[in-house]
């Protein structure tokens, strides 16, 4: 401390220290990043001619969507919707049932290291494959139809739900868990009385969110042969029945929106 009594000796300017201290490295990242982005954009081959040609095609394509045809001449539209809904529901239930033990095992504060690594491995594997890849496998294994879609969506649910469950458990209060453990509770009682109450509200919200995802994914899964509304949508596209396709898309949008609303309502309710 030298001469701190004189205000004149204090600096009057101050700058926040930069995030990356070394100025050479900082500029290298900024300039290098800009060059890479420019180069990447260059290799895209953006051809304005092709865009210009595409626009009228898009116009014709959209025109053929209107008016949407809800008349359901072949009787497959509502059947497809119903199939998608039950596929979404049972794959969510089955997926969550599988996710709970895996999620418990993947929480570092509950499981020994080897269980943890195994469960994290299962989650990583499930997350590696998007639902459409899982559906292609399932269709190859079990044939066309909603059963393949159900398998694909259930496996997809594990990667999502077990991971978030494990993370929520890891973030739960250690002192509440310790207090219940100190009473002499066994492992299952301990989970039921200290962990479950803490993670339940979020898990209920996520279940409904996952149901919503599974319903949307059921449209994708159907395109590769997994049944449901996706199969109906795919058929109507290949038969050039774009007005029916538009009707299907509108129904999907409405169902997803209503689920969105329901899920936020439930989340508030269980808090």
């Amino acid at each position: 401390m030298t001469d701190s009594s004189e205000t004149g000796s204090y600096p009057s300017s101050w700058k926040k220290a930069p995030f990356i201290k070394n100025s050479f490295v900082r500029w290298l990242i900024i300039v290098g990043g800009a060059i890479y982005l420019a180069a990447a954009l260059g290799t895209m081959n953006i051809d304005l001619e092709r865009v210009k040609e595409g626009l009228p095609r898009a116009q014709r394509f959209l025109d053929s969507f209107f008016p949407p045809n809800f008349s359901d001449n072949r009787g497959v539209l509502w059947e497809g919707i119903a199939e998608s809904i039950w596929m979404a529901i049972i794959s969510t239930v089955a997926g969550i049932a599988l996710s709970i033990p895996i999620g418990l095992g993947a929480a570092r504060n509950l499981a020994p290291a080897w269980v943890y690594l195994f469960c994290r491995g299962v989650i990583a594997a499930s997350r590696t494959f998007p639902e459409i890849i899982l559906a292609i496998f399932a269709v190859k294994l079990f044939g066309f139809g909603p059963f393949a879609g159900f398998i694909a969506l259930s496996l997809g649910t594990i990667g999502f739900y077990a991971k978030l469950l494990a993370e929520d458990i890891e973030n739960s209060s250690a002192s509440q868990a310790e207090a219940v453990k100190a009473t002499g509770a066994n492992w299952f009682q301990w989970i039921n009385y200290s962990i479950q109450p803490q993670v339940m509200p979020r898990m209920i919200g996520l279940s409904i969110y996952r149901l919503d995802i599974n319903f949307r994914e059921s449209a994708v899964v159907g395109i590769v042969g997994g049944g449901g509304i996706g199969a109906t949508l795919n058929t109507s596209f290949s038969r050039y029945e774009f007005d029916t396709a538009a009707a299907i898309l509108i129904i999907i949008i409405l169902i997803v929106m209503s689920m969105e609303y329901t899920s936020s309502f439930f989340r508030k309710w269980v808090q």
Binding site: A179, Q189, Q198
Partner: protein, 264 residues
């Protein structure tokens, strides 16, 4: 009743939290454990019920060596050791009643506890204890709706419904105001004498320690540096425990003994 011998705890970080602590606590004694933050107070009481596994040494409760128990025998032993926590550690989304009844988990099977079908005697005892601490009307409230002092009383009920021989109390007043702190300490003291309970109370408020205990043990850097009567805490002793400071205002003088009426 409780004997600690050469109890040592070394954490994985290499920190030596307890350096061979030896203590003998007779039945019915309320012992205050004081010392600065990081002296090992929390570690010491957690080594007794093995929320922390001691590195070496022994803990003998009523003739049972606790440090070597298998996990199922440990659960049985934990039933007889009630614990009261800093910041209450109630399960906030459970009701007051569920929190109190969770003290019986060691005595009932999983499905009974899962469906909240506790034996009638347990439910009666839960109501009796809640009534004793003045919270019977709060039984169906969620724990996070309660004030700090009320939560700590629920925490006390949860510990007592275990029907313990020993109470382990970890900084019970750490987040309470001075008046509530005194009420909680007095409640713990009264319940201990009603039931003839032995208690170890971690507390960093020297004044409260003197007011509500029969014996004070001072820990510093994992070693016992004082063990004696509450009124033996002279400025010299406090300096030995906490370091140099002006202690004149901290120590209870003898004429302050009688305190105001208890109210809830």
């Amino acid at each position: 009743m409780l004997q600690l011998a050469e109890l040592t705890k070394k954490y994985n970080t290499g920190e030596l939290a307890l350096k061979g602590v030896t203590l003998e606590i007779p039945k019915g004694q309320v012992l205050a454990l004081i010392g600065p933050s990081g002296a090992g107070k929390s570690t010491l009481i957690r080594c007794v019920n093995r929320l922390v596994q001691p590195t070496s040494g022994s803990v003998v409760l009523k003739g049972t060596e606790l440090t070597k128990l298998s996990s199922s025998a440990l659960r049985k032993a934990r039933r007889r050791m009630g614990m009261i926590f800093q910041e209450y550690a109630l399960v906030e989304r459970l009701t007051v009643m569920e929190n109190v009844l969770s003290g019986r988990l060691g005595y009932v099977g999983f499905w009974r506890s899962y469906f909240r079908k506790f034996p009638r005697a347990d439910i009666q005892e839960a109501y009796r204890l809640l009534d004793r601490v003045g919270l019977k009307h709060m039984a169906d409230k969620r724990a996070d709706e309660l004030s700090g002092g009320q939560r700590q009383r629920v925490g006390i009920c949860r510990a007592l419904i275990q029907n313990p021989d020993l109470l382990l109390v970890d900084e019970p007043t750490a987040s309470l105001d001075p008046k509530t702190s005194r009420q909680i300490m007095r409640l713990i003291q009264e319940l201990c004498s009603e039931r003839g309970l032995t208690a170890i109370i971690n507390i960093h408020d020297v004044f409260l320690a003197q007011m509500f205990s029969q014996r004070v043990v001072g820990l510093e850097l994992g070693s016992v540096v004082y063990d004696g009567k509450p009124d033996g805490l002279t400025p010299e002793v406090l300096t030995r425990i906490y370091g140099e400071e002006d202690w004149s205002a901290t120590i209870k003088s003898t004429d302050e003994d009688d305190d105001d009426e208890e109210e809830f």
